[in-house]
């Protein structure tokens, strides 16, 4: 899809708008894993009539929103160890089955955060490479491969101004060639075999993006 097919946003997206955008793009009836952190906010924007079923890696399909205060169940949490609820039609299973479900390609969409994404779809989101950092990977490497479509939500530039959509990741990889689409505050990118396609822009233009990124862009 070229950028001309959609109205261009006039200013960069806020976090909430990004989450709403991702939610809009998830096909009805999908089975979806929202990772941990920012991507979990996508749940707040899914419409009930979308019929999306949420998976959490710790062993549940049919995860519902945070419970009302005082109704938390310590034995019902999401992957971020936050209390959640159970929706009708839910099911529970053990960790081996939960990751088999992901690794086997049974989920439709997974939404993840990232430090860097390469033009070829490599993902770096578990380790900054800092020598004194204590490494921790959790389910990140499984999630990176764990769905038919892997979406990333991230800011397009790091705090120091360097792009996070790069020709080649400099941070340690989480997965190789696994990312299908990247949502940022300035644009949405499809990572395709033929290259990086700008799908939509927000408060910027294709030419501005092309000037700021080292990655060749396609319209």
């Amino acid at each position: 899809m070229s950028t001309s097919e959609k109205p261009l946003g006039t200013q960069p997206l806020g976090k909430d708008e990004m989450a709403a955008l991702v939610a809009r793009d998830i096909p009805a009836g999908s089975f979806v894993n929202l990772g941990i952190g920012q991507p979990t906010s996508v749940a707040d924007h899914l419409r009930a009539d979308q019929g999306v079923v949420l998976h959490t890696e710790n062993g549940m399909l049919g995860m519902g929103p945070r419970p009302a205060p005082g109704e938390e169940d310590p034995e019902l949490t999401n992957a971020g160890k936050q209390p959640v609820t159970e929706l009708p039609g839910a099911s529970y299973f053990d960790s081996a089955a939960s990751f088999a479900m992901m690794r086997g390609g049974h989920l439709d969409v997974c939404v993840l955060g990232a430090f860097q994404v390469s033009a070829g779809g490599d993902l770096a989101n578990w380790h900054t490479g800092a020598p004194d950092a204590i490494p921790a990977v959790g389910g990140a490497m499984d999630l990176a491969l764990g769905a038919k479509s892997v979406f990333v939500m991230m800011t397009l530039f790091a705090k120091d101004g360097t792009p996070k959509l790069v020709p080649s990741c400099t941070y340690p990889l989480t997965g190789v060639g696994c990312v299908d689409r990247v949502y940022t505050e300035l644009a949405v990118f499809d990572l395709r075999p033929e290259g990086v396609v700008v799908r939509e822009t927000f408060g910027t233009s294709y030419d501005e993006l092309a000037a700021r990124l080292e990655v060749p862009l396609l319209r």
């Binding site: 034995e75 949490t77 081996a96 959790g138 490497m141 491969l145 989480t174």
Partner: protein, 218 residues
């Protein structure tokens, strides 16, 4: 044959120095808190602990680590906001860490329990966690060879047991319990309640009695 133990101390009495101990739980859900506390009192040392996390705060696994009783941790996510005990030991080189992606961690224990000698998984390929490991392309996709993780002992938390040792779990507290129960030579389960044989619906048993050696109600 499953033994009903009077208390958690009896349940962990036979853990030996140098053992590999599988510890269930994802965060606090399914964490066998009373068994870990009993293991701290019991005194076995030079342990290898296999668990999703590496302890939080100053209690439970963290307290076991703080006593210098754990030589090595095999886990997926040691670093947390309150993992200062592990962090300190790791930075000072006093504890060994084998970091394993969570799905590979579960699958490696599943392999141990299922008699699988090794398996090719796509998870981790091309990352630092696959460095030095055998890889192979199968049907156009690259996989890395991963080996089973056997435990000498598994400490798990379940919801309910019958006197035969059949277990059911509750909600997301199920997590690593069922797979760890298959992967260890001796399996100890703490449960909220022990019921009579025949009181669990055979269709709903998650961990069959054959896997469970000791049960203690807490």
């Amino acid at each position: 044959m499953t033994t009903l133990c009077a208390d958690p101390d009896e349940a962990v009495a036979e853990v030996r120095d140098g053992s590999t101990v599988l510890v269930g739980g994802f965060g606090m859900a399914g964490m066998p808190v009373q068994l870990i506390d009993a293991l701290i009192r019991q005194g076995a040392t030079d342990l290898t602990v296999v668990s999703n996390n590496a302890g939080n705060g100053d209690t439970g696994l963290a307290a076991l680590l703080a006593q210098g009783r754990v030589r090595k941790v095999i886990c997926s996510f040691p670093r947390q906001a309150d993992s200062w005990v592990f962090d300190g030991l790791y930075r000072s080189g006093e504890i060994e860490l084998e970091l394993v992606p969570q799905g590979n961690l579960a699958e490696r224990m599943r392999a141990a329990g299922a008699g699988i000698g090794a398996f090719f998984t796509p998870t981790g390929v091309g990352t630092p966690l696959a460095e030095g490991k055998e890889t192979r392309e199968i049907d156009g996709r690259t996989y890395v060879l991963e080996m089973p993780i056997h435990g000498d002992v598994a400490l798990i938390g379940a919801h309910r047991a019958d006197r035969a040792g059949n277990l059911v779990y509750r909600r997301t507290a199920r997590n690593f319990g069922p797979v760890m129960a298959t992967a260890a030579t001796s399996v100890v389960a703490q449960v909220s309640e022990v019921v009579e044989i025949g009181d669990l619906d055979p269709e709903t048993v998650v961990t069959p009695s054959v896997f469970v050696d000791k049960v203690v109600a807490v």
